[in-house]
């Protein structure tokens, strides 16, 4: 039985004990999938699982656990499970409330990469056959090697069949076979640029920011969306103006808020309507946190996130050098 069939069978067995199960379903738009909320057995048929399932369904974990009295099931790729692990480690959700149904992953296709390669033309149809993907746009047709269009996080993934924790695990019948890249390789390339080049890069990117808060609202760890300090009158941390500098300021707030918490799922960058590469900023902060505290978020459920704990003496911070 294929992965999807086995997943449907498993969900069929679990649905009676769970108030809702969050999974993936087909979308009207080519190359995309939508979240699906299953409450009854009849709805299980709409469930899918394939290499288009890039969304991180852990987004819904906090709010569903607050709203629903009872257990919730979420279908998660191993990388997405890291978000749940971090939320539990921080005490934001109760581990007992979430049934983690993890499915082994063989990589997910990043539709935004394809959009960049076809220069703004709209994807009208997509056909995946073997190792290539054919894109029809109504004008020109394109063909790409699937190898080249996986999400960046897939190239550095080590946990594709080893979710940090799970309640149920479904093995993927297709083996993971993506060439691996060095972690933070793209960051190191970027850091070779001069300070002026880097600044003008971000100036150019943020000129398109419209402060839609899609990045904040999709992040599984930013559970503060209804009481965000960027939208408050008192204290007036940030202007409500929608300008490029305010957009930059808001992202910096996010970077600080997610320091040592971001699991690099890439959703923020995926959902940005203006295609601003904000994941770079999160990754940079994560790398610095790792250097300072030797901590990688989302891997151990009993870990103590360094910015939420206090140690008298930090191993990597030489206090004498700070003065």
């Amino acid at each position: 039985m294929g992965t999807e069939e086995r997943l449907k069978e498993k969900i069929g067995n679990l649905i009676d004990d769970l108030k809702v199960i969050v999974g993936y379903t087909k979308s009207n738009i080519p190359l995309r999938v939508n979240p699906l909320f299953i409450e009854k057995k009849e709805e299980i048929d709409k469930l899918i699982f394939n290499n288009l399932c890039i969304n991180n369904l852990a987004t819904y974990s906090y709010f569903l656990s607050q709203e629903i009295d009872g257990k919730i099931g979420i279908i998660l790729k191993p990388c997405d499970v890291k978000a749940i692990v971090q939320l539990v480690a921080e005490g934001l959700i109760n581990r007992e409330k979430i049934k983690i149904i993890s499915v082994g992953c063989n990589g997910v296709i990043d539709y935004k990469k394809i959009q960049r390669k076809i220069n703004g033309l709209k994807i009208a149809s997509a056909d995946i056959t073997g190792s290539s993907i054919k894109i029809g746009t109504g004008e020109k047709d394109f063909e790409f090697n699937i190898e080249d269009i996986y999400a960046e996080k897939c190239y550095v993934c080590r946990i594709y069949d080893k979710p940090p924790i799970y309640d149920e695990y479904i093995e993927n019948d297709i083996k993971f076979n993506i060439r691996s890249k060095e972690e933070y390789e793209d960051l190191m390339e970027f850091e070779k640029l001069s300070l002026e080049e880097i600044y003008s890069f971000w100036e150019h990117e943020f000129s398109r920011c419209i402060r839609c808060y899609a990045c904040r609202n999709i992040c599984p760890l930013e559970v503060c969306r209804d009481r965000c300090i960027a939208q408050l009158d008192q204290p007036h941390w940030q202007s409500q103006k929608i300008t490029s500098s305010e957009g930059k300021f808001f992202q910096l707030i996010r970077v600080m808020h997610l320091a040592g918490r971001c699991v690099e799922c890439g959703e923020c960058e995926r959902v940005c309507p203006s295609n601003i590469p904000i994941l770079k900023l999160m990754k940079k902060m994560n790398r610095e946190i790792n250097k300072l505290f030797g901590f990688v978020p989302g891997l151990a459920i009993d870990s103590k996130p360094p910015l939420l704990t206090f140690k008298n003496i930090e191993k990597n911070i030489k206090e004498e050098e700070l003065i």
Partner: protein, 396 residues
Amino acid sequence: MTKNNRNIGNKDFMEKQKIKIISIIKKNNLFLFFNKISEKLDIYLPVQDLKNGIIDFMDWRCIDNHENNNTEFVMNLGEKTKKSPKFLLFPSSESLFEFEYKKNLDKADMVDIELKSSNISDSNTRKKIIFGIKPCDMAAIKMFDLVFGTGEKRDTYYLDKRNYSIFISVGCSKIHPDCFCTSVGGHPFNFEHSDIGIVELKEAYAIVKLNEDVKWLIEENKDLFEKESSIDEKYYIELNKIISGSEEKMPCIYRNASPAEISDSMEKSFNTEIWKKNTKKCISCAACTYVCPTCVCFNICDEIENLSGERFRCWDYCMNYYYTLEASGHNPRSEIYQRYRNKINCKYNYYYKRSKNIYCVGCGRCVEVCPVGMDIREIVSSVLESDKKVPDKVKE
């Protein structure tokens, strides 16, 4: 989505709209034209940033911009812009006025307030040409006129810019998978609201509509335009093909229901479970609102530093939790489904009741940009379906 089975026929439409070619400008003359008129006017058109493929309305001068080595900009009239051009008339942040607290020189314990007009940049005082705006976005500008510009209460900030803008609309030779303007009363070649209407042909642009008060643009540059009498037959043939080709591609959704029927169904389904069921995945961000050409809700804020500050308005989104949050802490729309329900009703029901227009132009931007795949077409279609009295007219 069913194909449009209505047998309008390209001939009928062309006759109804009285589409005839008034003039032709060859493609390689277009930028010469812009060069000449840019002495008096600012020109905005859809520009694609080749680095990331995004198309948005920008000042045409950035097409010449070779200083910034990181980017390359080209004009792109075929694709839809990512954001709508509403920001040209309704900027994302706009200062209303500035104020300053001043010590009263006569009475030592009194402080006066002085109001100042905000600094208006030169660009706001020049006439603008907005070139390449699609008929759907043009219909949205018309709706803005209804909100901001009619009745006793008029918005002068909007009207000033509006009255100084000339709209040159380009018909949609390309229909995208998420376009549905014909289902909400639009048409890919509807030029009734724009000042000038053109259609992009292979080697030239055909001008099919020209308002009296903008004739001077052509007349002052007539060496770049062909006279009506000397237009080659081949252009007519090409035009005909483009217009009829596009009509065939337009999907017909909403069961051919009239605006009144849609508004009625919305009203009837207001308190049903359909809203809670269909909005579970919505994350309540502003992406759909900010790219929408008709969404116009705004916030007014005061910001002060020491003794001076300004009052400005900026875009706001009704999907925001804070939108209706009252100082007492009570929030009439505290749940996501209530806010989404209000948003869709605002477009398909309330504005219809106020102005007999459906406040959606069928551009499909919200569908494309939504992080989780909320589809306005699906929601409105399910509402229509649940109201059994609205039959699927396409099946007849």
